[in-house]
Amino acid sequence: MTYLYELPNATSGLDAIVIDTFSVFPFMSSLILLFVYLTVFIGGITRQTIKSGTADYSAWALIAAMATLLPALIFSISNGFIQLDWLIIVVSLNILGAIWFFLDRKPSEV
């Protein structure tokens, strides 16, 4: 059987398979993070809209960013999973989400 790329050597550890896959397809980790973000964001606002008729978009954007940060940090432990630039972008998404969230709260009297 002819393979599209050379099979990874699993004797050096199972994570070598993932790292080899990520090295063949560098956007793999980015797409996984995008999948987590969109799943939480779209799933959250959809379910909240169904239940209450409206959705807190800024809150779900922040929750999705925080949910994305966790796998991004796990990816950062070993070299080859994620680039430092992408990790910084995820942290930046958290900050942008926080800015949107905290400036979007309801007004009070004073």
Binding site: L69, L73, F75, S76, I77, S78, N79, F81, I82, Q83, L84, D85, L87, I88, I89, V91, S92, L93, N94, I95, L96, A98, I99, F102, L103, D104, R105, K106, P107, S108, E109, V110
Partner: protein, 144 residues
């Protein structure tokens, strides 16, 4: 966002959230001896330090402002204080932290302050600062 107190607390919470996220991510990398640690990035490190400086400056200004409020007097026949000293924390460290908190997203996502999209955040910070000023006047002397 609906009042001077709301805006002050919102920006303070954004600053604290940023410090928490930076601290968590950097400590996660240090504790696990990660190969990719955002603390090793110069922009992240400087932004983190600026956030901490803003937060500590805000704490110091709040203490002095609390004392200022207690010592302030209202002139007879007037219903406002003669100076705007009680609002000094919102004037100083918080407005300064506005630029710091968007510096990292601008550099990492939008290409820096000089990029075509940089003007968006420049105007955003300006309008929030203007809202701050109008809220101070509204709180201090009534409707502008």
């Amino acid at each position: 966002m609906g009042s001077q107190i709301d805006l002050t607390i919102s920006i303070t919470m954004i600053t604290l959230f940023s410090i928490a996220i930076f601290g968590f991510a950097i400590n996660f990398g240090n504790d696990n001896d990660a190969d990719m640690n955002i603390g090793s990035d110069s922009v992240v490190a400087s932004t983190y330090d600026l956030h901490k400086d803003n937060a500590s400056q805000f704490s110091t200004e709040t203490e002095s402002t609390y004392t200022s409020i207690l010592e302030s007097t209202v002139a007879e026949g007037s219903d406002i204080t003669p100076s705007a000293a009680p609002f000094s924390p919102t004037r100083g460290s918080l407005v300064g932290s506005l630029k710091n908190m968007v510096t990292l997203p601008i550099n990492s996502i939008f290409g820096g302050w000089g990029s075509p999209f940089g003007i968006f955040f420049t105007v955003l910070i300006s309008i929030i600062t203007l809202i701050f000023a109008l809220y101070l006047i509204k709180t201090w002397r009534g409707n502008p």
